[in-house]
């Protein structure tokens, strides 16, 4: 079957503005052909200059995240037949600078991650291994949110990233949630940081990040857990019966 791909093209060093280019390719029996396979075919047979990023091809690394027909997803996981018979629109991730065509500058994702101190700070310096049972409430609360592959789909889907580029974003806040909910971690100032102007209160609960996550995680759930934690910490501070306890 012949498919039409309408692909975003832009070379900042050469083009004054982006444009779209159509490619028609025969994918034969396209039952198991992914968007990444189609991109390879276009690059090999029609335009060797087409730029896109990939690595594992197993939906594990998150490198090939794209906007396909207006919705974010992994090119290596999305089957062409699931995108309909009309033209298939491919665009780079939104809210992240474009390097060339479908390739975006992923160091910007790191910039947003850095805002939440995304590294583990041990609360207890003891060399003994911590014992957290898989069925414990703490582990259940964190759930699958640790499985984030940092593909940037959530950052692209979040409309708040459009209005506030300094917003920590769903990916950064999901990482903060995983660390803050972990009893082994010394939360430090992380909770105060996410409670700031560009933190959790920028989330308007649109669920775009949850709906597009290729790993089926919900950053929104983590963000709301953080909001409740900030609220209860505030309540503890004004509770007159607790005053002086920490002094």
């Amino acid at each position: 079957m012949v498919y039409t791909f309408n692909i975003f093209r832009f070379n900042p060093g050469k083009d004054s503005k982006p444009y779209r280019q159509e490619f028609q390719i025969d994918l034969g029996d396209a039952d198991k052909v992914t968007v990444l396979d189609a991109l390879f075919k276009i690059q090999q047979n029609q335009d060797k200059n087409l730029s896109f990023r990939y690595s594992c091809r197993l939906a594990m690394c998150g490198s090939c995240a794209l906007v396909m027909n207006g919705k974010e997803g992994l090119a290596c996981k999305t089957l062409v037949k699931d995108l309909g018979s009309g033209p298939i629109y491919l665009e780079p991730l939104r809210h992240i600078p474009v390097i060339k065509d479908l390739t975006v500058d992923l160091k910007f994702l790191i910039k947003w991650l850095r805002k939440v101190e995304p590294f583990f700070i041990p609360r207890n310096p003891s060399p003994e291994p911590a014992k957290i049972k898989p069925a414990s409430r703490e582990r259940q609360v964190i759930g699958l949110n640790t499985e984030c592959i940092a593909c940037g789909s959530c950052v692209s889907a979040c409309t708040m990233m459009h209005w506030d580029p300094e917003y920590m974003g769903p990916m950064g806040l999901n990482r903060a949630f995983c660390l803050i909910a972990d009893s082994r971690d010394l939360t430090g100032e992380r909770l105060e940081k996410v409670a700031g102007e560009n933190g959790v209160y920028r989330c308007h609960m649109e669920f775009n990040c949850t709906d597009v996550c290729p790993k089926h995680l919900s950053p929104t759930r983590g963000i709301h857990h953080l909001k409740r934690q900030i609220f209860w910490q505030g309540v503890k501070k004004i509770n007159p019966f607790r005053r002086g306890k920490n002094e």
Partner: protein, 111 residues
């Protein structure tokens, strides 16, 4: 859309594709915000033109939508499972329809 030396692709509200791919959670958010604006508008009109049936109906409609979607937000804020957010959206619309039907038909509105 250029940002200094970087070129960043942003959502273009004039692009039909963006609206076709809008997801249920986003629709819930949009409907609640738009209904809030209409509440302000219809309340103001209601102040100057009281007891007009079409206006009363429109005001009730937007209040019912805004309130039922507010309950959805409230439940999720309190820790309701986010996996049911789509079902909660549909339930909110049903609650709004039921609330509107009940108030319009069974409560005295002075019309």
């Amino acid at each position: 859309m250029a940002n200094g030396n970087d070129w960043i692709l942003k959502r273009d509200a004039t692009d039909a594709k963006v609206w076709r791919s809008t997801l249920p959670g986003m629709w819930a958010w949009l409907i609640q915000r738009i209904s809030a604006i209409f509440i302000l508008l219809f309340l103001t009109l209601h102040f100057f033109l009281p007891y007009r049936r079409p206006l009363q109906f429109l005001l009730l409609l937007v209040v019912a939508l805004h309130a039922s979607l507010g309950i959805r937000v409230f439940l999720i804020d309190l820790g309701a499972n986010v996996k049911i957010q789509r079902a909660l959206f549909l339930m909110s619309l049903l609650v709004a329809a039921f609330g509107l039907f009940f108030v319009w038909n069974y409560l005295p509105l002075g019309g």
